[in-house]
Symmetry: C2
Subunit: 259 residues, 2 copies
């Protein structure tokens, strides 16, 4: 637990990039996407699936260019998705060496890691102040669920998928996320208090779903952590599994509800 807490502090430089916003966040998202998709693909290799690593990592670059030119240029993003899905499928043409699973895992990495991570930048672009909500709800849920579970946990939530998670932890996670979100709103965005409260409650279960999705993948891949980049936290993907799910929800909430 000590390592876990201390290593959490390593995330501080990230806070600086989030604070600066704009291209700094875009650069951070692109880096997280490239490192994350690589870890994700290495996990697949552990279960005998061989995604096209280079393609997945490269896919983050044109998306970053779109981010510079026209962040919410959805037609460009649709073109980007189409091109990378098609090219991933062509990978299968060497059918003696490769399988549909290799193409499918490549595509999944590009959408689930690279495209989802891009939504952090989209949130920043749409409403800079609310980019904090992604991290407050994702990390707030994680930390409060961890400590609530540690002290009060009795009833297992998903015994097969993630044996340490308890219902008490989940409740504590939602409560923690809501409280942190409210505190944030009161201090930094009082005019947004209702939206922050809604996001605090809405994003918390989404964050857990992101965490459980990563657990399910790791179970099947037969690995404990995606990587070993941050001691006690595993790899980039272990730390950002919830963020990947929460960022799109915050973005579409801003885009369709607030704006």
């Amino acid at each position: 637990m000590k390592t876990r807490v201390i290593s959490g502090l390593i995330m501080v430089p990230l806070l600086v990039l989030v604070y600066l916003g704009g291209y700094f966040i875009l650069a951070a998202c692109t880096m997280v996407a490239i490192m994350g998709v690589r870890e994700f693909y290495c996990g697949f290799e552990a279960m005998g699936i061989k995604p096209w690593k280079t393609l997945g990592m490269i896919s983050a670059v044109p998306l970053a260019v779109i981010g510079c030119l026209s962040p919410e240029g959805w037609d460009l993003i649709a073109l980007w998705i189409m091109v990378f899905v098609m090219v991933s499928l062509l990978y299968m043409f060497k059918i003696q060496e490769r399988n549909p699973e290799d193409s499918m895992a490549t595509i999944l990495g590009i959408i689930y890691v690279v495209f989802f991570a891009y939504h952090v930048y989209l949130v920043d672009h749409a409403m800079h102040i609310l980019v904090w909500m992604i991290f407050i709800t994702a990390f707030g849920t994680d930390i409060f669920a961890y400590f609530s579970g540690y002290f009060f946990g009795k009833h297992k939530m998903a015994p097969v998928l993630s044996p340490k998670k308890t219902i008490e932890g989940a409740v504590g996670g939602v409560a923690g996320s809501a409280i942190c979100s409210l505190l944030f709103a009161v201090i930094f965005a009082p005019e947004m208090i209702i939206h922050c409260a809604i996001l605090g409650i809405l994003c918390s279960p989404v964050s857990m779903a992101g965490d459980l999705t990563a657990s399910a993948f790791k179970r099947k891949m037969g690995i404990k952590d995606y990587g070993n980049l941050i001691p006690g936290h595993g790899g980039i993907m272990d730390r950002f599994d919830s963020v990947l799910f929460v960022a799109p929800v915050v973005y579409y909430y801003i885009h369709f509800v607030i704006q």
Copy 2:
């Protein structure tokens, strides 16, 4: 070959829907998407992968609704992609019964079949007359490649992937696609002659790539055809494998080059 030609005529009702355009094409795309994704998933079942069939088939419905409300509503389409990717991933949570491959195949069906098929409607919406180019280039390539290969074929193009395809067939396919496109332009859209010529040549190899992608899947699935809906043509997916690849290319060409 006789069955093949006669069955080709069964496609005539489709021409009527294409001619009518608008919601008729949207309805046709949605039906093709639902039947196609089902066939695609049944193919996966033949290789031991169990996609979430119901989800894939249902995914076409909200996309059709978006098509009615706001055809090029890319923000809605991005939300649609995100929701269906996330829900497909949750499918894995029953890790004792399900595998990442099941989720990945579900996602691939939703994007490669349902989303790609939607581009036929997008082309119609952006520039009705050019929707014909999708079918002229895809079917033109197919038919001319078939007959060129049949009469002149000598050098195998992809011996392992699709043993009957020849380089002579491919050249005939591109030439046939270009000629049909030019004829079409001269008669129906003389002001578009340059764009039709470019599309005729550009879409032909894309159409072959779509065909080979389907061949690669079918090889790995251990099936000869995706279905048996149209005698001599197999299932919906056997007939539309090229269209799925060509439609997005025509759409983005119109959107980014012509408009």
